[in-house]
């Protein structure tokens, strides 16, 4: 049935083991956010320019974060660190703002309501990313 050989030790590499799962989820969000932002900007930008620009910004951050995590190495780690930090700040600021000043967000972004439209995964993802960067910090991955 299944292949018996499987690497059970936790990989210390940024882009291996659990890190690869993280890359997969980041990739999903990069695709989802890009598709959403692209469509919103192409079809109805005037309705909610701020929200759609934020969607586009979030999409770019997810793409770069995916690249950083997949690239690994010293530079990849730095890229991922910056992106995860921006994401965490972004989801907290936009999440708070969308609750306090809903009129500024006539349409939802990925980060509205702390990512409630996406099962709060946008809030969880940068935290997991930062934790993973921390756990693999000693490795020259």
């Amino acid at each position: 049935m299944s292949e018996p050989r499987t690497d059970t030790r936790v990989s210390r590499m940024l882009n291996g083991g659990p890190g690869r799962v993280l890359i997969a989820v980041y990739l999903l969000f990069a695709i989802a956010a890009t598709a959403r932002a692209g469509l919103q900007i192409a079809t109805r930008f005037g309705e909610a320019p701020l929200a759609y620009l934020l969607s586009a910004f979030a999409a770019v951050v997810y793409i770069i974060a995916t690249y950083g995590l997949a690239r690994a190495g010293e530079l990849g780690r730095r890229i991922a660190l910056v992106c995860c930090t921006i994401e965490l700040v972004g989801v907290l600021v936009v999440g708070t703002a969308s609750l306090l000043v809903p009129s500024a967000f006539p349409d939802d972004t990925v980060w509205s309501g702390f990512g409630e439209g996406y099962g709060y995964i946008p809030l969880l993802l940068p935290v997991l990313g930062l934790l993973w960067l921390w756990r693999t910090r000693s490795a020259r991955a």
């Binding site: 049935m1 299944s2 292949e3 018996p4 050989r5 499987t6 690497d7 059970t8 990989s11 291996g16 083991g17 659990p18 690869r20 799962v21 890359i23 997969a24 989820v25 990739l27 999903l28 695709i31 989802a32 598709a35 959403r36 692209g38 469509l39 192409a42 079809t43």
Partner: protein, 121 residues
Amino acid sequence: MNGALETLTIVLALALAAWGLVATVRDRAPDRSHLIGLAVVEVAILALGVAALVAIAGGESPAEPGTFWGYLATIVCLPPIAAVLARMEPTRWGSIIVTVVCLVIPVLVVRLQQTWEVAGV
């Protein structure tokens, strides 16, 4: 669009998600069965796309065409992405990737159906 094909796709994806979870719990890498499963799910998704084209040829149209095709294009990409990443990671984590992607697919299929039907129905 009839609901049967969507339901079938969702059931297949959820079954494969469970199968990926079994491999994960057993500390196994994704094997041939998972790749075949992903291929089957991909075929179901492509059939959804064909069904949509047939329905359009028959005079129907999606309620939100842009969103509909955006979702469809996204879903079509998911099984291949899962297969590539799962093969890159021949550990239990590769099996989790299969599970995660297969849990996302039903959500997107439901959204796909919603963008086809008239809003509010």
